[in-house]
């Protein structure tokens, strides 16, 4: 099915980082008119390969050919000039410029050399509308939820007249609907003969969109396959290097806690808690032993409600009680002091301290809670870090590396470790599995579930409804910045039902758990 010459071909690519070989003689081919998935565990070398292909990193060996001619890109600018357009992992945009500018930066429409601002905004709006994103393009990008930023990055990449489009985990923070729109666009591009390189940890997405798959493991090439001819199990086995265990076998978590919910007092209750312009007042109970999922569409206010509960933003109305005592969270510190941990959704902007080592990043919150004068002993640190690095399988298993050198998924695990380490009583997780490979994801979900069984209260936000369903005892649904329903989890709650509630805001059977949800006044 592939035409004779690949548009982009790499042979024997080697890349070393300070003596560690991240890519071991990898070969890779990309043909026009195909969507090619690049698969592998966290740290397998996917992003590194992409960066080498586009000249961000110089290869330490190997050759890259563009349409049969050897090339040596000096960077994204050079690659772009040759028709290779890339969206790198993590949102790499300019947060304090407007959305419109971010879409068209460097390609602004001009007349006599002067930028035509009206036209710029019109075109940006149009491009985003193609992805069904309806925003005021004049607002600062940084004020937008991560998913919108992600879509802006995608809009930016597909606008150019490119022969090769590379997308490194573009869907990690997208909801189902955004993914659908993206795939529609990719389909069209494929039809136009564009070669698309696509990285994702979602198997369904891979099987839905890709024609061929290249699998990497530990920096080495495992093989290149036609997607249709490779059963899921085999794909997973090749990625992990072993037969997959009960990755997908796991269904809904057996919520022991659900049965004895009556005798458990909630750890945190919110009554009419809200913030003007961010989220309408809502009621929510977070009970030890129970996982509460938050579901909703892009921009429905999931992150914003999580932030209020975590003290990251200050609520301007309502009352929060912790352990029965009314509290006002004046900041994250106050929340942490009350054993509330919050994993934020944007690891790059407000999670990692890139220069610090893995160890330092992991113990940061615990250390901050202890105060500067009481440093964790080296032994204790070692012990904790080793424990959690093993539990979460953070690779490479070298705690002294600067965290910036870790792969995206492993960075995410570091942040998760940071909060688990503090032994919280309420764990607020905003997209905790973003960018985490399927093997690790199952493991992490199991871990959270286990912690919940041991009496942890969990608030779980994820764009992936399956995941929410699998883990949650209760699913609260948000719509237009309002909490509209709380549905008991369990086998009865299917993705379809949930989608329906999200879409209509109506609870078809009208079973809003009493006392759980009262929609507050809209602000």
């Amino acid at each position: 099915m592939a035409p004779a010459t690949p548009v982009l071909e790499a042979t024997g690519i080697v890349k070393d980082f300070l003596g560690v070989r991240a890519l071991k003689e990898v070969d890779f081919r990309l043909f026009p008119g195909e969507v090619h998935a690049l698969m592998g565990e966290n740290g397998a070398g996917k992003s590194t390969l992409i960066k080498v292909l586009t000249g961000v990193h110089a290869a330490d060996g190997g050759e890259i050919r563009l349409q049969g001619t050897p090339v040596r890109f000096t960077g994204p600018l050079h690659a772009r000039a040759h028709g290779v357009s890339t969206v790198y992992q993590e949102v790499n945009l300019c947060p304090s410029l407007s959305i419109a500018e971010n879409v068209l930066l460097g390609r602004e429409p001009r007349r006599f050399g002067a930028i035509r601002w009206k036209e710029l905004r019109r075109r940006a709006t149009e491009l985003l509308a193609r992805l069904d994103i309806d925003v005021d393009v004049r607002v600062e990008l940084g004020s937008q939820p991560l998913a919108v930023q992600q879509m802006v990055a995608i809009a930016r990449a597909i606008d150019v007249d490119a022969r090769v489009l590379i997308l490194d985990e573009p869907t990690s923070s997208l909801d189902r609907e955004e993914v659908d729109r993206l795939f529609a666009v990719l389909d069209r591009l494929r039809g136009d003969g564009v070669a698309v390189l696509f990285v994702s940890h979602f198997l369904e997405q891979i099987y839905e969109i890709s024609d061929r798959v290249t699998v990497l493991r530990d920096g080495g090439l495992i093989g290149e396959y036609a997607t249709a001819e490779l059963p899921r199990r085999d794909l997973v086995a090749r990625m992990l290097g072993q037969e997959p265990g009960d990755l997908e076998a796991e269904q809904h978590r057996t919520s022991r806690a659900q049965d004895d919910q009556n005798d458990q007092a909630p750890f945190v209750t919110a009554r009419g808690v809200g913030r003007k312009g961010a989220i309408a007042p809502f009621d929510l109970d977070l009970t030890p032993g129970r996982v509460t999922g938050l579901a909703g569409l892009l921009g429905s206010g999931r992150s914003e409600s999580a932030r209020l509960l975590a003290g990251a933003d200050r609520a301007d109305q309502g009352q929060l009680t912790v352990d029965g005592a009314p509290v006002t969270l004046r900041g994250p510190r106050a929340a942490i002091a009350r054993s509330i941990a919050y994993l934020s959704e944007n690891r790059k902007a407000d999670g990692l301290i890139p220069d610090l080592t893995v160890t330092e990043n992991i113990v940061l919150a615990l250390q901050a809670a202890q105060g500067w004068a009481r440093p964790l002993s080296a032994r204790r640190t070692d012990e904790l870090v080793t424990r959690w690095m093993t539990a979460l399988d953070i690779r490479p298993r070298d705690p002294s590396l600067p965290v910036r050198n870790l792969s995206g998924g492993n960075q995410q695990k570091v942040l998760l470790a940071r909060w688990l380490l503090t032994e919280p009583r309420l764990l607020i997780l905003d997209e905790p599995t973003r960018g985490i490979d399927i093997g690790a994801k199952a493991q992490i979900l199991r871990l959270i579930s286990g912690l919940a069984d041991d009496g942890l209260a969990v608030l779980f936000v994820s764009a992936e409804l399956e995941e929410v369903l699998r883990l949650s005892d209760t699913v609260a649904v948000l719509r237009d910045r309002e909490l509209v329903a709380a549905l008991p989890g369990g086998a009865a709650l299917t993705v379809e039902r949930l989608m329906e509630v999200i879409a209509t805001g109506e609870n078809a059977t009208g079973e809003i758990a009493p006392g759980e949800v009262t929609t507050g006044e809209p602000v």
């Binding site: 994204p76 945009l93 930066l105 460097g106 001009r110 930016r156 312009g277």
Partner: protein, 333 residues
């Protein structure tokens, strides 16, 4: 119900960038009003115009600095490069008999060249801007001394004309040629920053250099150009200074880099780059000028009180600026 609300919020958000400049403008007017209520003749037209006449050179330096700071850098060499330019022009015209216009062009070229060299150090070799331009500052000052340790008067009539020509404005007031040049530079800078790809690139690079690189923007060209522009503006500022004083002197404009940076930052530009307006810089220069004017009008301050009062006025200004912007931004988000 929530639609109008959302659009209101969006409107507030999208204007947030202008708040620092707007508040600076308001405070500037307040400062003028305060001066006027205290001193006789403070708001006379010519006093205001003198603000521009006296600060034309600083304004041009600050415009160049704005470019560099917007890219997230800093340029400590501006004062020294300007001094070098006064020295070069004076020496060439007076001692070497170079035609004045040619001398000016050469001085501008040297300024731009020095700027570009610093740009290379910053971008290509990853030297921190502070250090690269500190070296540039030493070098430029040092070259001044090599030309001459004494001040050189310029007797060429062109400079006398440039210095003494008064461009009349209504009601007996006037401005100088330098003011016109400076305002043209401001206008050009405004156009470049807001209406060219390069200008937007400057903001992008300052906002997030790694992202800009990954967004396939010409980061290298942008940074080199920003430092070159700063060097060029410094040299031009020096030339305007020779129009102002008709002389060249190695110790001219000592410490001006800090005034320049202060003007840019007071004008609402963020030192870490990516946000700011060149019109804010104009206001920043005017604010510093008014503070100076107030002190002159006060007229009885001893040397140290001059410093203390300057600091106090600056403090009052940034505090008020802070109060205003904090109100607005918190209302906006």
């Amino acid at each position: 119900m929530s639609a109008p609300l959302t659009s209101l919020r969006l409107a507030a958000r999208h204007r947030r960038g202008y708040i620092p400049v707007a508040s600076t403008a308001v405070l500037f007017l307040a400062l003028l009003a305060a001066g006027n209520s205290r001193y006789y003749g403070f708001l006379e037209g010519q006093v205001l115009l003198n603000l521009l006449i006296n600060n034309a050179g600083l304004l041009v330096l600050a415009v160049g600095m704005t470019f560099v700071i917007l890219t997230g850098g800093i340029d400590l060499s501006v004062g020294a490069v300007a001094a070098l330019s006064t020295m070069m022009v004076a020496w060439m015209v007076e001692r070497a008999g170079v035609p004045p216009l040619l001398a000016i062009v050469l001085a501008l070229a040297v300024g731009a060249g020095l700027g570009r060299l610093m740009g290379h150090m910053v971008h290509d070799f990853g030297v921190q801007p502070f250090i690269a331009t500190l070296a540039g500052m030493f070098l430029a000052r040092g070259l001044c001394f090599l030309i001459s340790t004494e001040s050189i008067s310029i007797t060429d009539p062109l400079f006398a004309t440039a210095a003494q020509t008064r461009i009349p404005l209504p009601s007996g007031t006037f401005i100088s040629i330098s003011v016109v040049i400076a305002l043209v530079i401001v206008a050009v800078a405004f156009g470049v920053l807001h209406y060219t790809r390069f200008g937007r690139g400057v903001y992008a690079v300052g906002d997030n250099p790694q992202s800009a690189e990954l967004m396939a923007l010409p980061v290298r060209r942008t940074i080199l150009a920003a430092y070159t522009i700063s060097g060029l503006c410094s040299a031009l500022g020096g030339v305007l200074f020779t129009f102002y004083t008709q002389s060249g002197y190695s110790l001219n404009l000592l410490g001006t880099e800090l005034d320049t940076i202060a003007a840019v930052v007071i004008g609402g530009t963020v030192l870490t780059g990516g946000a700011g307006y060149v019109l804010g810089t104009v206001l920043g220069v005017c604010v510093l000028g008014v503070i100076q004017t107030i002190i002159t009008f006060e007229g009885t301050l001893s040397s140290w009180w001059t410093k203390i009062v300057t600091g106090a006025l600056l403090l009052a200004f940034v505090l008020l600026q802070r109060v205003l912007t904090a109100r607005r931004t918190s209302a906006g988000s």
